[in-house]
Structures are given as structure tokens and as C-alpha cells.
């Protein structure tokens, strides 16, 4: 294998991994604040759809990108609000949000564009693909640092571990959780923007294709740390890239097996990790 092939493989791994990475960072934030986030898939969908929609009407992809992030944040806010103020079971709320977002986007296509399945081509920010990849990795580092080194990070962690103790220290756990959930939505939305406007120039039903759930796995595999989750997301991207590269080159290996390769690798990794996966102590528990 030549150096250029290796480099292109790594480049593909980064592109493939970044949307998962962005969503998983959101997952880390909200879960460290104590909110289980299985709504990442829906938030990515909402972000991607809104970005394409807004870019189409404003003809300005940057407004579209910002809009996608904002809509992702709004969805995250709804999840956070339901989980904190209404005390709705967080998994139930996440399920509901996933259903509403995927269905809503499909419906929006008909309603707005009067065509099913896919938007027309919209102005995109393809030139920002690599800056976004770098932004993702930087964000992981910044969040890692912020969680361990800043007052906000400490308070966020405290709310995920023991909201009662946080309350006693003068912190409002509900506000922190709500904010974390909204930021998580924004990050997942950015993941959707990356796909819709960074890599492509459209929204298409089913285009998120389970990346939000893979991001959730990255959160857990990465042991609820930003760098860990980012690493897992990128390794996953690398496995996918390998799968792409190997297809057709190993005649006796069916493509279906290769397509399952990243998931099989994840299972084997689980075997070896012999799981001391401890989620934040108060995760999923409503407060007060």
C-alpha cells in the first residue's frame, strides 16, 4: 500500500468519523450533566433537514448551517425541558423525539418542496469540510479541557454525579441540565449540517443512517469523556474506511461481511474491554 493510499484512507476516516464525533461530543455533555441522550439520531436529522431547508430559501449556506445548529439546539432543549421540568422518562422522551424528527423531516419535504424523499440541491459549504473536521477534533480537546478545568465543567459534572450535592453548593441542576441538553442538540445538529451541507448539498430521508446511535455507542465506549468518544468515533470511521477500501479487493470475502466489519470489531472490542463502563452516577435519574 502506498503512502498516498494510506493518507487517503486516513482522510476518509476523518470525514466518515466527524459527524459521529460531533454528535458523540453532544452525547458526552448531556450525559455528564445527567441526561441520557438517545435522541442524537433525531437531533442530527433535524439539524440536517433544517440546514438544507434554510440554505435553500436564503441561498446562503452559512445561514443554513447556523440554522441547522440552532434547530438541533432547540430539539435538545425540548428533550432537556421534558426531562427536567416535566420529569418525563428520559429514554421515553428520546424515543419520542427520534420518531418526531425523522417523521417531521419526511413530512416537511412534502410540505415545503412538494416532493418526497429528498430536497433539491441547495447551496453548500463543501469548502468548509476540512475546517469542520478540524473544528470537531479541536472541540473534543476543548471540551475535555473545559470539563476538567473550568468552573462550568466542574459544575456540569457535579450535576451528573449528584445533583443534590450540586444544589447544596448553590448550583441549579435543572438549569445546567437544560443548557447541556441544548448544547448537545446543537453539536448533534452540527453533525447533521456536516453531512447535509459539508459533504453533500441536500437532505435526503434516511441519510443519517444510524450515525446518531453509533455516536451513542461512542459515548459509552469512550467512557463519557470527550477525547475518548472522539477517538472511538474516529476509529469507527477508520474501520468503515478500511471496509470501503477492502471491498472488491478480497474476492472470497462477501461485501456483506465487510459492511458488518466495523460492528463486529466493536463487539470484539467490547469482549476485550471487559466493561468497567460506569455511567455518571445520576444519569437518567430525574431531579429532584
Amino acid at each position: 500500500m502506498t503512502l498516498s493510499l494510506v493518507l487517503s484512507l486516513l482522510a476518509l476516516a476523518l470525514v466518515r468519523g466527524t459527524p459521529i464525533l460531533l454528535a458523540s461530543l453532544g452525547g458526552v455533555l448531556s450525559e455528564r450533566a445527567g441526561i441520557v441522550n438517545i435522541a442524537l439520531e433525531g437531533e442530527m436529522t433535524a439539524g440536517a433537514f433544517a440546514a438544507a431547508l434554510i440554505s435553500f430559501f436564503t441561498r446562503d449556506p452559512w445561514i443554513g448551517a447556523i440554522g441547522g445548529v440552532a434547530v438541533g439546539a432547540a430539539v435538545g432543549f425540548v428533550l432537556g425541558f421534558a426531562a427536567t421540568r416535566w420529569r418525563v422518562d428520559q429514554i421515553v422522551a428520546g424515543m419520542g423525539i427520534n420518531l418526531i424528527c425523522t417523521g417531521g423531516a419526511a413530512f416537511g419535504l412534502i410540505f415545503v418542496f412538494n416532493q418526497a424523499g429528498v430536497t433539491p440541491q441547495v447551496p453548500a459549504i463543501n469548502q468548509a469540510l476540512w475546517p469542520l473536521v478540524i473544528l470537531g477534533i479541536l472541540l473534543a480537546a476543548v471540551l475535555q479541557w473545559a470539563l476538567s478545568r473550568t468552573p462550568i465543567g466542574l459544575r456540569l459534572r457535579a450535576c451528573g454525579e449528584n445533583p443534590h450535592a450540586a444544589r447544596a453548593a448553590g448550583i441549579d441542576p435543572l438549569a445546567v441540565r437544560l443548557a447541556a441538553s441544548a448544547i448537545a442538540g446543537a453539536l448533534a445538529g452540527l453533525g447533521g449540517v456536516f453531512l447535509a451541507l459539508g459533504e453533500l448539498n441536500l437532505y435526503s430521508d434516511g441519510m443519517i443512517a444510524g450515525r446518531g446511535f453509533i455516536a451513542l455507542a461512542a459515548v459509552i465506549f469512550g467512557r463519557w469523556t470527550p477525547l475518548g468518544a472522539a477517538g472511538v468515533a474516529l476509529i469507527f470511521g477508520l474501520l468503515e474506511a478500511l471496509q470501503f477500501a477492502l471491498q472488491g479487493n478480497i474476492a472470497w470475502l462477501p461485501s456483506d461481511f465487510l459492511q458488518a466489519l466495523p460492528y463486529i470489531a466493536a463487539l470484539i472490542a467490547l469482549l476485550g474491554a471487559s466493561g468497567r463502563y460506569r455511567p455518571p452516577a445520576a444519569e437518567g435519574k430525574p431531579y429532584p
Binding site: 487517503s8 476518509l12 470525514v15 459527524p19 424523499g117 429528498v118 434516511g206 443512517a209
Partner: protein, 338 residues
């Protein structure tokens, strides 16, 4: 008590049922029903193409039309059943996966006229429409081989299933017709929906040195077109619908599968009182499959190559070349001296 509460809550929805009454279409005049496969409308591919045929019939023949989309294989049967019960004149099953369901329903509704695309159902009231995708793909492969500067081309499939092997086998054979030693990569995305993965996989093929990509992957195939857009000297070939306009100049041509023509023809024949029956094959000769007219790429391709394509097309039409329809047949395919 809690169970009771839940039961009542579910029943509250049901309480609104009382208002219901049958809303069956009266079905005067020509009415056309269509059931899509899982790809659904918006696949930029054969469901959309069939829908265009339906719209055409609506405009030209004044037909009432209705489309039901399916979310899983389990939806085919009820969707077909629902249309049959609403007494549509002609009911189209778009996709080979519906053949077994249609067989049953056609027997249950002997007075309804059905059409199925991409499969053969042997019932008197069913017209089966299949296409010789390998023929059109053969031409696509030949064009790709002629256009490739690297002598390296690629195929990008949605899922690794027999239907797509027709595209793959025809494409590879067509390329070998031009250059027996040409390198052809064939990769499958594993999905018809994941547009980003389509683009990424196309990028892999381009990085490996391929410069022409034939994408038979429904919506996901749009990713391949995006992938070639920013690459100098790289081109894509679209599939099913005319995708040349998605990236003018970068899509050499599209291997159009004219489901719309077939759909319209079936409706027209029905209205004229001469409904089609049996197995109708749409190949190159019937205009069922063809390459587009190189609207944006004619200059790039040049008259010599276009003339050679015409010669190959003629050879397929008169049977001198028989493009392989399976990967097994591909193994024994030998280029024909024209």
C-alpha cells in the same frame, strides 16, 4: 388501576372512530394506482420514474392517480389490497419484491388489471414488465472504457443483490468489449439511502485510480455524482432517471430505465381497450433502456466515440452481442469483434 388508566387512554383515541364511514373512490373513468417499493418516492430512480409515467397519464389521459408508499416488505400486500379494493382500473406494483404478493392478489381480484415492474407474474390479469438493464449498462461500460484516461473504471452498487448484478455484469462486459484488460472496481454501499456513504465510497474508488463511476444505488448514488464534481477528469454515469443535470458536464450520461414509458404505455393500452398481457420486455430496441443524449457532454465525448457506441448498440439490438445478465454469465463473456 394503572392498567385501567392506560387502557382508557388508548381507547380515547379509538373513541373518535365513531365518525368513520367508507370513503371509497367511485372510480369513474381511468384510475391508476401505484405501490412503491421501500425506496419510495424521491429515490431519484425507478420509483420516481414510474411516478413520472403516472403523472404523464394524468395529464394526457386525464387519469385519477394514487400512490401508496411501502415502509417494509410487509406493506406490499396491504397496499396492493387497498388499491384493489378501491377498484382502480390499473394497479402498478413497482419492484420485483412484490411478485409473490401480487401473484396472490391477482388471483383474488381476477377482474382488476395489474402491472408489475422488474419481475414476471404469470397470471392472466397481470402484465409483467422487465427491462434489459444489462443492455444499457453494457453501453455505459463501453462509454466508460472509452473515456477512462487511467484505464480504470468503477461500479458503485446500492445493495449486493441479484437485480444490481444485472447492472454490474452488463457494465463490466461493456468495458471489456472496448478494452479486455481494463480494470473495473465494483463496490457496494449496503444501503440505498446513505448518500454520504455513497459519496465516501465513490471517493475511495476515485482515490484508487478509477476515473469513471457508474452508480446504481438509488438516492445513495447521488453521492457518487457529488464525489466527481470536484475532481478534474473524473466522471459519473447516472442510472434509472436522467441525472445528467445534477452536475452538468460531470455526468457523462445516464443509463435511463424508462419505467415511465412502460407505465404510460400500459395505461394507454388499457384506455384504448387493448390491455397488455403477459411478459413485456423493454430493451434497447423498445426504448425501455438507453443512454441519454449527452446534452452536457457531447463535446467532451466526441463524435468518434458516439459513433462507436451506436455500432455497439446496433450489435446488441440485432443479437450479435448478448450482454451478460449475471456475474456467472460475465465470467464466460468474450468481447465480440465488430
Amino acid at each position: 388501576m394503572r392498567i385501567l388508566a392506560r387502557a382508557i387512554s388508548a381507547c380515547a383515541l379509538a373513541a373518535l372512530v365513531i365518525s368513520c364511514a367508507p370513503s371509497t373512490e367511485s372510480g369513474r373513468g381511468l384510475s391508476l394506482g401505484m405501490v412503491t417499493d421501500i425506496g419510495g418516492l424521491g429515490d431519484k430512480s425507478f420509483n420516481d420514474s414510474a411516478y413520472r409515467g403516472l403523472l404523464h397519464a394524468h395529464r394526457l389521459l386525464g387519469a385519477h392517480i394514487s400512490v401508496l408508499q411501502s415502509r417494509s416488505a410487509a406493506d406490499y400486500q396491504p397496499n396492493l389490497e387497498a388499491l384493489a379494493n378501491e377498484r382502480f382500473s390499473v394497479i402498478y406494483a413497482i419492484g420485483f419484491l412484490m411478485s409473490k404478493d401480487l401473484d396472490q392478489i391477482a388471483q383474488d381480484h381476477p377482474h382488476t388489471h395489474f402491472a408489475i415492474v422488474d419481475a414476471v407474474v404469470n397470471e392472466p390479469n397481470v402484465v409483467s414488465i422487465t427491462f434489459r438493464e444489462q443492455d444499457g449498462s453494457f453501453l455505459a461500460g463501453a462509454l466508460a472504457a472509452m473515456m477512462s484516461a487511467n484505464k480504470h473504471i468503477a461500479f458503485l452498487g446500492g445493495q449486493d443483490i441479484p437485480l444490481l448484478h444485472k447492472f454490474e455484469a452488463g457494465y463490466i462486459a461493456g468495458a471489456r468489449e472496448i478494452d479486455p484488460r481494463i480494470k473495473v472496481d465494483a463496490k457496494y454501499i449496503g444501503s440505498f439511502d446513505d448518500v454520504a456513504a455513497g459519496k465516501e465510497l465513490a471517493d475511495v474508488e476515485l482515490n484508487d485510480g478509477a476515473d469513471i463511476i457508474y452508480a446504481a444505488a438509488g438516492k445513495a448514488g447521488m453521492g457518487a455524482i457529488e464525489a466527481v464534481e470536484t475532481r478534474r477528469g473524473a466522471y459519473a454515469i447516472g442510472v434509472d432517471s436522467n441525472q445528467d443535470g445534477l452536475a452538468p458536464g460531470k455526468v457523462l450520461t445516464s443509463m435511463v430505465k424508462r419505467v415511465n414509458v412502460a407505465v404510460f404505455d400500459v395505461a394507454k393500452a388499457y384506455q384504448d381497450g387493448k390491455p397488455m398481457h403477459g411478459h413485456v420486455v423493454f430493451g434497447l430496441r423498445e426504448g425501455g433502456v438507453s443512454l441519454t443524449n449527452f446534452k452536457y457532454t457531447r463535446a467532451k465525448i466526441g463524435p468518434a466515440r458516439i459513433a462507436r457506441l451506436a455500432r455497439i448498440r446496433a450489435a446488441i439490438v440485432d443479437g450479435r452481442i448478448v450482454p451478460p445478465a449475471t456475474l456467472r454469465a460475465l465470467a464466460t463473456f468474450r468481447p465480440v469483434k465488430l
